[in-house]
């Protein structure tokens, strides 16, 4: 298995607080890895370090053998990392289709002269990708709707479709189950599993232990910014340090 993403001693300090403290791990091509941890464990910060939204205080991040820390988010995205956000960030005043097409356009490139004088090749490539991503999440019937008008659950899929339209090699999902009920969470778990089955490499940050334990091949556990476990779900489940972090230890 080839390694896609390598995180080496990633550290991020905010003033006196060390949000992520020397975390190292790797993600191989085709893997489905979960990152869990209690609130404030540094999960989202770790994601932002990978996607370039937060600069590292120390450490390195490599993607496909290239060093990506210190690069701008759009350059990292173009290398093949698609992401979603913790608090659902869609483009509310744009149609579902237009939302998704932005993902495709970002990867294929936009330029003013091409849009004015160029042929239809670029726009058709963008449209095809966007349509394929919508079909993948089953939103093609709502393509013309304004994103603000569709239900919360569907917006979650819209956000994933937008990342899929980038045709990334690695997709990172930041708490995709937040705000979903049990049925919706189960559906989402099945969807992520199917996505992974189709060959996508997925890095999943999730609060919902059940979701992560149920579908991930490997789980990275963070607590207070440090990695305390990195193993298969059944191993992590019995790990003393993990149990302590989640349940507290009896005096």
């Amino acid at each position: 298995m080839t390694t896609l993403l390598t995180i080496n001693g990633a550290t991020r300090r905010f003033g006196g607080l060390t949000a992520v403290d020397g975390v190292s791990t790797t993600v191989a091509k085709g893997e489905l890895v979960g990152v869990i941890g209690p609130n404030g464990a540094g999960k989202t910060t770790l994601f932002n370090l990978i996607s370039g939204f937060t600069p590292l205080s120390a450490g390195k991040v490599h993607f496909k053998g290239r060093r990506i820390d210190g690069q701008k988010p759009f350059r990292i995205a173009r290398l093949g990392i698609g992401r979603t956000f913790q608090n659902l960030r869609i483009f509310p005043n744009m149609s579902v289709f237009d939302n998704v097409s932005v993902g495709a356009a970002g990867m294929l490139g936009v330029n003013a002269a091409g849009a004015v004088f160029g042929g239809k090749a670029r726009s058709e490539a963008i449209s095809r990708r966007a349509w394929a991503a919508l079909e993948q999440v089953g939103l093609q019937g709502l393509a013309g709707e304004l994103a603000a008008n569709i239900s919360y659950g569907r917006r979650k899929y819209l956000e994933i479709a937008r990342a899929l339209a980038m045709e990334p090699e690695l997709i990172i999902l930041d708490e995709p189950a937040a705000g979903l009920n049990d049925t919706e969470t189960r559906e989402l778990a099945a969807f992520i599993k199917r996505l992974h089955g189709d060959g996508m490499t997925v890095l999943l940050v999730e609060h919902d232990m059940g979701l992560v334990m149920g579908i991930c091949e490997r789980v990275v556990v963070l607590a207070s910014g440090r990695k305390i476990a990195d193993a298969a779900p059944e191993v992590v489940r019995k790990d003393a340090a993990v149990l302590e972090a989640y349940l507290g230890v009896e005096e």
């Binding site: 995205a77 237009d98 726009s123 990342a163």
Partner: protein, 337 residues
């Protein structure tokens, strides 16, 4: 009606109206005042359309647009009066001059967000206005510049009111076509995503800073083009033509027409230029009526005369720019071809 025929008919209708019906009506009355009003209306259509791109589509609240209009007008006027260049040169150079100033302005300000960016453009608009007013050796200051020559193309004199109208109309229509292609394409989609959430657009692989600077420059370019049209058809320019109230007037056109909507910007400009002219018989009272129309239109139609959603829908269906997924029914056109 077939999908191929409809866009051609829409374009033909616009061309017949602007290049056929309007000049015929103007010719029948043959008063230079009416030609002046028609030119002014077209120039403001172009100004509103160029502001639509940066403020409506890319979401950057621009409060100094008139200053770029002024840079274009002064560039054209000075190149004509001082260097003796004709319209074929002054028009593109006025656009490029304004675009150049826009890039200079954009470089330091693009990292500002929302209201802070707006205040920065307000300051820059004021600065450029004060340069026009006080750099007397070059701009002639408050006396303005008399532009009596220069409206010639390939040696033909186009300064007669009727031919000048055609020049303004053709340049405006061509510019509108470019702005239409920019706003109604994947490029416009990318700009809209900056307006909605630029961090998120960044994560999609869009170079958000480059796109913002680009949209600002393109918008400045067309404001400069409008300035050249004004300098050559009005015959006289002075700093007051490019002051802050003019920026606000253009902003009002874009908002009343529908923020983010190109047809809205065009209609907003026509309403706010033609309404005061139509109301001329009622005297000074007309300004109160125009104010009232502004107030009530925004109260009753906060999304504008043609809101963004309906405008995009209209363009997709009437101009055939939409893409249709396989197996979807007619009427569900999405995206841009």
């Amino acid at each position: 009606m077939s999908d191929r025929l409809r866009p051609l008919l829409v374009v033909a209708a616009v061309l017949v109206l602007v290049l056929g019906v309007v000049p015929a009506v103007l010719g029948a009355f043959d008063r230079s005042y009416l030609y002046q009003v028609a030119n002014l209306a077209l120039i403001f259509v172009l100004l509103a359309a160029s502001m639509h791109l940066v403020t409506g589509v890319a979401g950057l609240l621009q409060l100094g647009h008139a200053a770029f209009y002024g840079v274009g007008a002064y560039t054209a006027a000075l190149l004509t009066t001082e260097a003796g260049l004709s319209f074929g040169w002054t028009l593109p150079l006025a656009g490029l001059g304004a675009a150049f100033v826009a890039v200079l302005v954009a470089l330091p300000t693009m990292r500002l967000v929302s209201i802070y960016f707006a205040v920065a453009t307000l300051g820059i608009g004021q600065m450029l206005y004060l340069v026009m007013l006080n750099w007397v050796p070059v701009t002639k200051g408050p006396n303005g510049i008399l532009v009596t020559s220069g409206l010639t193309l390939f040696g033909y004199d186009l300064s007669r009111p009727a031919s000048a109208y055609f020049v303004v109309a053709v340049v405006t229509l061509a510019s509108l076509w470019v702005i239409h292609r920019l706003s109604h394409s994947y490029y416009g989609n990318a700009l809209r995503s900056l307006r909605e959430d630029d961090q998120c657009a960044d994560a999609m692989g869009l170079d958000t800073v480059r796109l913002k600077i680009e949209s600002f420059a393109v918008s400045g370019f067309f404001a400069g083009i409008a300035g050249a049209l004004w300098a050559h058809t009005a015959g006289y320019i002075s700093p007051a033509d490019f002051s802050f109230p003019q920026s606000i007037l253009i902003l009002a056109m874009v908002v009343v027409g529908g923020l983010g909507s190109l047809p809205g910007a065009v209609i907003g400009a026509l309403v706010l230029i033609l309404l005061p002219e139509v109301l001329r018989p009622v005297g000074d009272f007309r300004n109160i009526i125009v104010g009232g129309v502004l107030f009530f239109s925004i109260l009753l139609m906060p999304k504008g005369i043609i809101g963004e959603v309906s405008a995009l829908d209209l363009v997709r269906r009437q101009l055939g720019g939409a893409w249709r997924g396989e197996g979807t029914k007619a009427g569900s056109e999405v995206g841009w071809r």
